[in-house]
């Protein structure tokens, strides 16, 4: 099928990070990504993305502020007319760097905390960093740049969901993302340590619904639903190869940041071909684009253009076949495996290279 227009490019500048969060979605083989793209290569990718119709560039990782050329890349994106978003854990976001980024055209910053309490947050991060994040949040709030506070929710911090909202309120944060952990990379490996309980999930839904009502007009709460608890799968990436592009630190173009796990597909590198060519006609992007690839029960399902069959990476991780209905869907023949994945308890394994 002919390729639609992508709107969003996720630039994973590096997978290096000074934190060790066990819920990270980065791949387990972090060492395979050390041959990072150069400033010139990233600048070319940003221009190619803008030429494809992309309107937003998200700089993430790993920890993107570890790249010494981050300011140059934000400037390059802004020069192409792209809206720029920095997704960071904030521990290196000092006054000098932040001012240079804002001056360079940065539009939005997303800073994550691991929990609202320092002791728990530092335990999850595997590093003493929580207080530094608070400084970074205050810094961003005082500048002419938008801010989202993000907290990934899982079994170890889910009971603090009300305190996360209070934490954001005290700082007068306008936009809060409460994201239930999604099980990819290190998080998939740690799923038995991170899986929330059903009670936590139901309590979280009630807290968010009540807070949204109470804080209407003062704070927007984005709530990312848990993967393994609903009747229908998430509309992952709004469809494979439909609106989103990710480029990994070493230059592979992916339809989704978790897609490298699908070893049955051959992804292409921006060092070898332009982003336009890869987006428009690479076999890996074409493979699950649209609805033509769908097996039953997706093929005849009235929701097929609502959730696009769910997540290809999740289908692959759980069944070994990226081309089947996402097992998170209650209509999937593999749905029983979701219930078994919700079981079990373990200690988290910290992320390391």
């Amino acid at each position: 099928m002919s390729a639609p227009r992508p709107l969003s490019l996720l630039c994973e500048l590096t997978y290096r990070c000074n934190l060790q969060c066990p819920y990270c979605y980065n791949p387990l083989d972090l060492r395979s990504y050390r041959d990072e793209l150069t400033t010139e290569q990233w600048s070319r990718v940003l221009q190619q993305a803008a030429d494809l119709g992309v309107v937003q560039a998200h700089f993430s990782g790993g920890e993107p502020t570890l790249r010494p050329d981050l300011v140059a890349l934000v400037e390059a994106a802004a020069a192409c007319g792209l809206y720029t978003n920095l997704i960071t854990q904030g521990t290196f976001l000092d006054d000098v760097l932040l001012d240079r980024l804002v001056h360079g055209g940065l539009n939005h910053v997303q800073i994550s905390i691991q929990a609202p309490q320092a002791a728990l947050a530092d335990r999850i991060a595997g590093a003493i960093v929580h207080d530094k994040k608070l400084e970074a949040l205050r810094r961003v709030l005082s500048r002419d740049v938008a801010l989202t506070l993000n907290c990934v929710l899982h079994r170890l911090n889910h009971d603090s969901i009300e305190e996360v909202i209070e934490y954001a309120l005290r700082l007068e944060i306008r936009r809060l993302e409460l994201a239930n952990v999604q099980f990819y990379g290190w998080a998939y490996r740690n799923r038995t340590a991170l899986m929330p309980t059903l009670e936590q999930v139901r309590h979280g839904e009630q807290v968010v619904a009540a807070a949204r009502e109470r804080l209407r007009g003062a704070m927007e709460i984005v709530y990312v639903l848990p993967d393994y608890f609903g009747d229908f799968p998430k509309p992952c990436m709004n469809g494979w190869g439909r609106q989103f592009l990710t480029v990994t630190p070493n230059g592979y173009a992916l339809p989704c940041p978790a897609a490298a796990a699908i070893t049955t597909l051959a992804f292409e590198n921006v060092r070898d071909r332009s982003l336009q060519e890869i987006w428009r006609d690479s076999a890996a992007f074409e493979r699950y684009r649209g609805t033509g690839w769908m097996p039953e029960p997706c093929r005849s399902c009235e929701r097929r253009e609502l959730d696009w069959g769910g997540c290809r990476c999740q289908a692959y991780l759980i069944t070994g076949d990226a081309g089947v209905t996402d097992p998170a869907c209650s209509l999937s023949p593999d749905h029983a495996s979701i219930a078994s994945l919700r079981e079990g308890v373990s200690e988290p394994v910290y992320r390391r290279a």
Partner: protein, 87 residues
Amino acid sequence: MKRTALPRFGKGVKLRHDGNGSVMLLIPEGALVLNASAAAALELVDGARPLAEIITAVAERFDVSADHAREDILALFERLEQRGLVQ
């Protein structure tokens, strides 16, 4: 939002014009595709122009009654204000 308000965009909110004439509002981690009248209204947002003036201008441009334009535009600004995209 009152008709005497002087609307301005929140932090991190940008209007974007594409070559093909389409207009989008770029917002933190998203984009809203605007119809012609919403685009015309938001193009006039500068922090100095009162909402009432924006309504009149859009009504004239699209040759509709001021009442009709007022209803649509107030609803648009209400939604954007709730999300902190317009203040």
